[in-house]
């Protein structure tokens, strides 16, 4: 029986294992050093905040793995010998594979800051980071202030986590406005306000110079490069992005760049070795996507795809239209298609913001053809299927606005803003778009 070994029990590896099991009888082993069972990394923050217990982050009950004949091995891979098809573990033992899937995910970036390895300095990615945070920031007596370095999605999550325990937070962001290499100005400014409204000390346009140690090798404070200001703190969170977690592969024959290099079939340069998820790097970026994508659902899709290839149905990884979502404190964010931070040459934009300053939408469309390119929506939920169809069928921005009521995905009885939005668009563009009433027929395509 062919033995499929998967390194990493995150969403990518586990999805691959599940689909291989559905399609075949192959022997499957998942190797992980992080946790006994698959858990949802995205939910670690809710464990710290007391919304959930760790066990709630596990999507499958513990009996699931044995019942589906998926072997779990807790071990740390030291290296891969691709000629003998063997994994060698730190613990001294080894494991032979017939096909290998590398799904080791990411690790937090460290940019060689002085003091970056002190006690009390951590990322927020692994289960161990959570345990570390629990140790150094259990409450606002032990941790009188925390400093977060790096303004991305994990940074703001960490800020929210600490804030939930009433720990004062200083949030250092290199950019001039939060996440503004991804978000356009309006949205970015909205999140700046949201962060500050929650009492988080947001510092924009600053860099970390060094992390200062106390006499016991624990963090005591940090220094800001631009101003030389020293901020006393007990915990430093490093959240300046992530990069592929592939150090143990660097010495092998498997080709790596930033991540493990793969083709569209998720195959590496070595036969029978595949890489999926955050740690995989496409030779050439797909559409407008980045070659390395550290996104939950792309990991899942790569797992679904590689399972097909391994089960003798070789197909290309084809991730479809871009979408994503996040939550910034109390503001939910969804995006479908592309809305770049900076307007591109052939693009036109439409921005609507609610008077509360907590909701907005931002449309991006082609200036000449009027084709809809994408939407950012904050504080209003929208239907994925609606926009997926729009993008596939290359509908116009007018069509989107006309059918905006179909797109709404907010809970029942919520106040609707479609009229406001369409009116504003009509005013600005001298158009006469009439909002259509929501139609279940269109939404569910029953006709």
């Amino acid at each position: 029986m062919e033995h499929i070994v998967i390194i990493g029990n995150g969403i990518s590896g586990v999805t691959a294992a599940r689909h291989i099991r559905k399609l075949s009888n192959k022997k499957i082993t998942i190797v992980s050093a992080e946790a006994d069972y698959f858990f949802s990394r995205t939910a670690l923050m809710y464990v710290f905040m007391g919304h959930m217990k760790f066990e709630h982050t596990q999507p499958y009950e513990n009996w699931f793995w044995e019942k589906n004949r998926i072997n779990l091995k807790k071990a740390y891979v030291r290296n891969i010998d691709v000629t003998s098809k063997t994994l060698n573990f730190e613990e001294g033992d080894s494991l032979r594979y017939d096909k290998l899937i590398i799904a080791t995910g990411s690790k937090p970036n460290k940019f060689g800051w002085p003091g970056q390895d002190l006690n009390g300095v951590m990322g927020m990615y692994h289960k161990q980071d959570l345990e570390n945070l629990e140790k150094y920031a259990p409450n606002n007596k032990v941790c009188k202030r925390a400093v977060i370095v790096g303004g991305g999605l994990i940074g703001i999550e960490l800020a929210e986590m600490l804030h939930s325990r009433h720990i004062p937070v200083t949030f250092l962001v290199r950019e001039s406005s939060f996440w503004n290499m991804v978000l356009p100005e309006g949205e970015s400014a909205m999140i700046n306000r949201e962060i500050r409204d929650n009492g988080i000390d947001l510092r924009l346009g600053v860099n970390l110079k060094e992390i200062i140690s106390d006499e016991n090798g624990k963090v005591r404070g940090i220094e800001i490069a631009e101003t030389g200001e020293i901020i006393d703190c007990d915990v430093v969170g490093l959240t300046a992005g992530v990069s592929p977690n592939i150090d143990f592969i660097r010495d092998s024959d498997i080709e790596t760049g930033r991540g493990v290099k793969v083709n569209r079939f998720l195959e590496t340069n070595i036969k029978d070795v595949f890489a999926i998820g955050d740690c995989a790097e496409q030779h050439e970026a797909i559409d407008e996507r980045r070659p390395v994508e550290a996104v939950w659902y792309t990991g899942r899709m790569m797992g679904e795809t590689v399972a097909q290839t391994i089960c003798d149905n070789r197909i290309e990884y084809s991730p479809g239209h871009w979408f994503n979502s996040a939550k910034f404190l109390d503001i939910e964010y969804q995006t479908y298609g592309w809305v770049w931070a900076q307007t591109k040459e052939n693009e036109a934009r439409f921005y609507w913001e609610h008077e509360s300053g907590k909701k907005c939408i931002h449309l991006n469309y082609n200036k000449t053809t009027r084709e809809f390119n994408g939407i950012n929506t904050f504080g209003i939920r929208m239907r994925h299927e609606f926009f997926d169809k729009i993008l596939t069928n290359k509908k116009s921005v007018e069509y989107v606005l006309e059918h905006l009521a179909d797109a709404n995905f907010d809970p029942e009885f919520y106040k609707l803003h479609e009229n406001d939005i369409v009116n504003k668009f009509n005013q600005e563009n001298n158009t006469n778009i009439q909002l259509k009433k929501r139609s279940w027929k269109r939404i569910f395509q029953t006709s």
């Binding site: 007391g50 999507p59 097909q308 109390d330 997926d388 029942e412």
Partner: protein, 526 residues
């Protein structure tokens, strides 16, 4: 703010302590006049009982309900035993001992509580309400800006099955045991709501009036908590208002007012088979002899179950009842909301749920079938079983122990919908319709799910919502009561409760939206 909350908590606990201590207080004395009254009113023919009471109780003062109750119930039981032995069936007192003792205690009681009903109302209900509100209202500020704020729920000893949870569990179970099985111990509670009862129905309060009144108060106070916690979510606000309205007006005021006009006590929204004694012979007789209104109630009750319930479930799912109308649901969604995360999500629990809830439904239907057969044919036994015995077993096991003691008492341990999930026959009936013939579903928003598990954690019905959401599948579960909390706690806007066309409602899918290759097509082609 913390200070105000602490003061509130202290006041609440003082009120609760006084309320509890009332059980141990009071004076009970039967005078000769009173005994005569009782004997005439109840038509007591047992000379043994009368002489026993005369010799051992009359003229003596009891300072707590326990010794009083034990004298009365033992007198009754001894007398009954002798009468039964001697085949003196007309002398047997058929009342339940503690209900009988309750009726006597209600008129035999005296003392400070009965004399100062108003003052004690304020010391118990008053302090409790005031304290609870002082504890709850500062949440507007302490919880932070509107939004989902479940911070620390799993660290709190009250909501993570910690010692406070167990303490509340013991207290609630004790409360229900007293209410159902020892009403004579809680006579003092009835005194303090007498004035309210008299102003509504014209009668003094029974233990059931205490329960109904307390129910409304608890729901109202905890609804304030819901309004604050979910003030950003209009679905939750409207739903809370709806259950509160139906509890206060339909379950509490209208029935009591009906009594005032000498009509049968009836809760117009309580549908059979949840209202399991609707077809009992005494109820049918009462309705038939109550003129036009009685007849209307009879027809309404039947139409409610056979026509209105299924039609509404078809259009809106069972949520229209469970989360918008029902009293049990109302309590679960207000008092029970802090405990929703304690429901068991395992597949095992799901299996148990299906067995139990459908067994109760079958039990209720068979019992009602027997009852109706007996009613129309005039016999007492059906298939060798006394219908009375079956009714008694159902009333004790399902009506009292399951719905009350376990259903509410176990909130802090098993979550707030234990009864609704495992026991309610009406929920089982609606669940079957919801699963197979309804427009209701929870739509999953394409590929947006990140498997975080907030939805499953906060599902009071123990549905593993995430298992569906992460597959891009709609949630069509018989047990879903449509509370809408999964949608509220989802950080990525993945879930929406909606009523749409039946076609496409169930969408089994192996591959999520976003992956351009339709892998299922490929699988099917092979």
């Amino acid at each position: 703010m913390k200070k105000i909350q602490n003061i509130g908590l202290s006041l609440f606990l003082i009120g609760l302590a006084i309320f509890t201590s009332l059980i141990f207080l009071g004076k009970y004395e039967i005078t000769t006049d009173l005994l005569e009254n009782i004997v005439t009113n109840k038509g007591i023919k047992s000379d043994l009982f009368i002489s026993d009471i005369k010799n051992n109780v009359v003229g003596k003062e009891f300072t707590n309900p326990f010794s009083f109750s034990s004298k009365i119930t033992s007198a009754l039981e001894t007398a009954n035993a002798t009468h039964k032995q001697n085949n003196e069936w007309d002398k047997v007192i058929w009342d339940k001992p503690h209900s009988f003792s309750y009726e006597i205690a209600k008129s035999a009681g005296s003392g400070i509580i009965k004399e100062h009903k108003g003052a004690f109302w304020w010391l118990t209900f008053g302090l409790g309400i005031l304290g609870a509100l002082l504890f709850i209202i500062p949440n507007v500020i302490t919880l932070g800006p509107p939004g989902i704020k479940n911070n620390g729920i799993w660290f709190n000893k009250a909501t993570n099955r910690g010692w406070i949870g167990w303490f509340v569990f013991v207290f609630l179970v004790g409360f229900y045991l007293l209410l159902y099985f020892r009403p004579d111990y809680i006579v003092n509670w009835t005194y303090i709501v007498d004035p309210i009862s008299e102003s509504i129905s014209g009668n003094t309060a029974s233990q059931w009036f205490v329960y109904g009144f307390l129910y409304c108060i608890v729901m109202t106070v905890m609804a304030v908590r819901m309004y604050i916690k979910y003030r950003h979510n209009k679905y939750q606000v409207l739903r809370t208002t709806s259950v509160l309205f139906f509890q206060i007006v339909f379950a509490f005021l209208i029935p009591e007012i009906l009594v005032r006009f000498e009509k049968p006590w009836y809760d117009f929204k309580n549908a059979f088979p949840l209202d399991y004694d609707f077809f009992y012979s005494w109820n049918l007789d009462q309705l038939i002899t109550s003129g036009g209104l009685g007849l209307f109630i009879l027809i309404w009750g039947i139409i409610l179950t056979l026509v209105i319930v299924p039609i509404m479930v078809y259009f809106f799912g069972k949520r229209w009842y469970c989360s918008w109308v029902c009293g049990c649901g109302g309590l679960a969604e207000t008092l029970g909301d802090p405990y929703r995360q304690l429901s068991d999500k395992s597949v095992k629990a799901w299996k148990l749920e299906r067995w139990l809830v459908h067994t109760v439904l079958m039990f209720a239907l068979v019992m009602t079938g027997f009852t109706l057969y007996a009613y129309f044919s005039g016999v007492q036994d059906v298939l060798g079983l006394k219908t009375q015995t079956i009714q008694d077993i159902y009333g004790l096991l399902i009506g009292s122990i399951f719905a009350g003691v376990i259903g509410t008492g176990f909130y802090p341990i098993f979550g707030n919908r234990v009864w609704c999930r495992f026991g309610c026959p009406l929920a089982a009936y609606m669940g079957i319709i919801q699963r197979f013939k309804s427009r209701f579903r929870i739509t999953t928003n394409g590929g947006q799910c990140i498997s975080c598990g907030n939805c499953s954690t906060y599902c009071e019905q123990g549905i593993d919502v995430r298992a569906y959401a992460q597959k891009g599948e709609n949630i069509i579960r018989a047990s879903c009561v449509g509370c809408g909390i999964c949608s509220a706690v989802c950080p990525r806007g993945v879930l929406k409760l909606e009523n749409g066309p039946e076609k496409g409602r169930i969408n089994p899918t192996d591959i999520l939206l976003g992956n351009n290759v339709d892998l299922m097509d490929l699988v099917n082609q092979k």
